[in-house]
Symmetry: C2
Subunit: 352 residues, 2 copies
């Protein structure tokens, strides 16, 4: 793993480690944290379900597992700061983790549908958002506070949103949120709150720092502040090149390029293209079938790499025919989020 | 109106005519046709509802109006070929209407929910798509055939999809589909089939030419053919500058720029920005409130236009933080669809 910081622990796999794995192995899954990792006693753990509900609930792990049907969903999680490193090369982003393209991973999650738990609590009609609270206190938050966030109630009631206790058929590792985390497919990873302790139905979005101030797309020149900027939720269409690596020497001639792509809510990846001439000509990549509707699509193409230095670029299109913007410079933003500009790697084709 | 062809009749308003009207006046609404305009006798008109339904229906206009609750929805329709003219300047698009940014308009539609009609017919669970058929025969289709298309059943069952007989509180004009047309908000205009005669529940998308072959995003270099390319449905985030017009002399100094923006299914326009230096600096535009969830958002900004020739560019962001690609050259495609590159107008700032 490439460790960006030890405390809080922030690490991503090298890009090549993600390649070829529709489901990411546990020890390769990226880890994004804002505070010390809490170690909760599963036997003592309780989930509170409160707010705009008819019957507030307190559930032990055993009750959660036995009162509700368990479900398994293969879902990709993507940090909103994924590919920030490229933005930082445009203009520095001090104090922000310089994520490469590895802050995205896919797992097979098992748990219960959040919708079933909310139904048991009796969601009141005035509930518009569902907020999650964890115990990990983030020093960066102003004021320092536990991590939290919320999602709209329509998403919370969708069957793919889980309260999960298992990952790739193994118990959920502590670093990934044991005993129970939220999994919100196709939303930024920050909404998939780890070490979940409280689910609160609300009229308004969470006023937690990580919803109201952080994880927002600010216009260039603007400063973060409560309610400022565009709140992030559903992910934007994006792609990365996993092989070859940036700067890697490759043989001139036919060269295999591979990577991942994903799209936001209610959309799928419809096409991935690769170019070795700056986007003048594009070659269609082959897309894998994908491990279900909530998982990324891995792709591969064999392109003819000329001798000498060459930039390889890629882009994905979603099913609405939306594609990625060309340049990182044009999507640069003060907190360095949602870099979905064309991924680029620079290689040198070595004459055989 | 700017008439691109008289037969079939294809016309769009000059961009300035759209400016400042959240709802487009009837005589300004764009008109896209593929064949001669049918003149149907409303008294003799019948709607057939068939295919994967329990109880096929034949409904007169009177039955449609009295058996179901009427609904009114303000919805923007956008032709998939909107802004094709800019693509044609990159590389010619022979035989394709050279639409400017006026192939988008907004009306207040009144009719019944398609969902209510499908419920009355008893949609069978194996239905996955709902197809629409009209009588207008398109000579361009191969083989020549009446216009048609389909939408996924989930969209067909959404309350905003109407079978409409009124537009801006007036009877639906013949050119806009009288006696009854479909209105599918946030889908390409081609799915809002005019002069509707048949609604068919199906397992697969319509195999009509305008679904299976036309209205698809082909990779550059590819030829149209059944099933080739990305089928268009949900619209991509897009924007246009309505004032000033391209080539218009403007006073140097503070100048008012205005336009429209819209986003696809389950997303809203979150931000519109304007730049007079090619995207190095962006200024936030003011967005109007919008006439409801299915309508475009008009926007305006006052920018400081320097003396001399200047290019004004704009871009919209949707609520997933997806934005528009920079260049028309990079989204060029053989049938000239979905040009959502940055809109650009060239003006000359005249020193006062």
């Amino acid at each position: 793993m490439i460790v960006h910081s030890a405390d809080p622990y922030n690490a991503e796999p090298p890009r090549a480690a993600l390649d070829g794995h529709p489901v990411t192995p546990l020890d390769t899954f990226y880890s994004r944290n804002h505070g010390p990792i809490p170690r909760l006693d599963p036997d003592a753990w309780r989930l509170e379900v409160d707010g705009l509900v008819e019957r507030p609930l307190t559930l032990s792990l055993d009750e959660l597992r036995t009162r509700f049907d368990s479900r398994t969903v293969v879902a990709t999680l993507a940090c909103a700061g994924n590919r920030r490193e490229e933005l930082g090369r445009v203009r520095p982003l001090p104090g922000q983790e310089p994520w490469g393209p590895g802050a995205v991973s896919t797992a097979r999650w098992t748990g219960v549908a959040l919708a079933d738990v909310l139904a048991a609590a009796g969601l009141r009609p005035e509930a518009r958002h569902v907020a999650f609270t964890a115990p990990d206190v983030a020093p960066k938050a102003q004021p320092p506070q536990p991590f939290g966030g919320s999602i709209p109630v329509a998403k919370a009631m969708a069957s793919e949103v889980l309260l999960a206790w298992a990952m790739n058929a193994a118990p959920l590792p502590v670093v990934h949120g044991a005993p129970v985390r939220v999994v919100v497919p196709r939303y930024i990873g920050a909404r998939s709150v780890k070490w979940l302790q409280r689910v609160t139905a609300r009229e308004h979005p969470s006023d937690n720092y990580f919803q109201a101030t952080n994880y927002r797309l600010l216009p260039a020149g603007d400063d973060a502040g409560p309610g400022r900027g565009l709140p992030l939720g559903v992910v934007a269409v994006n792609a990365a090149i996993l092989r070859p690596g940036d700067g890697e020497p490759v043989p001139a001639g036919p060269t295999r390029i591979s990577g991942y792509a994903f799209a936001g809510e209610d959309r799928d990846v419809a096409r991935v293209e690769v170019s070795v001439d700056g986007g003048r000509h594009w070659q269609q990549a082959e897309l894998d079938a994908g491990a279900g509707p909530w998982a990324w699509r891995l792709w591969r193409a064999t392109v003819d790499v000329p001798a000498g230095p060459v930039e390889i670029v890629a882009r994905a299109w979603d099913t609405s025919a939306s594609t990625q913007p060309e340049s990182a410079g044009h999507v640069w933003n003060p907190q360095g989020y949602v870099n979905n500009s064309w991924p680029r790697v620079h290689v040198t084709g070595r004459p055989g």
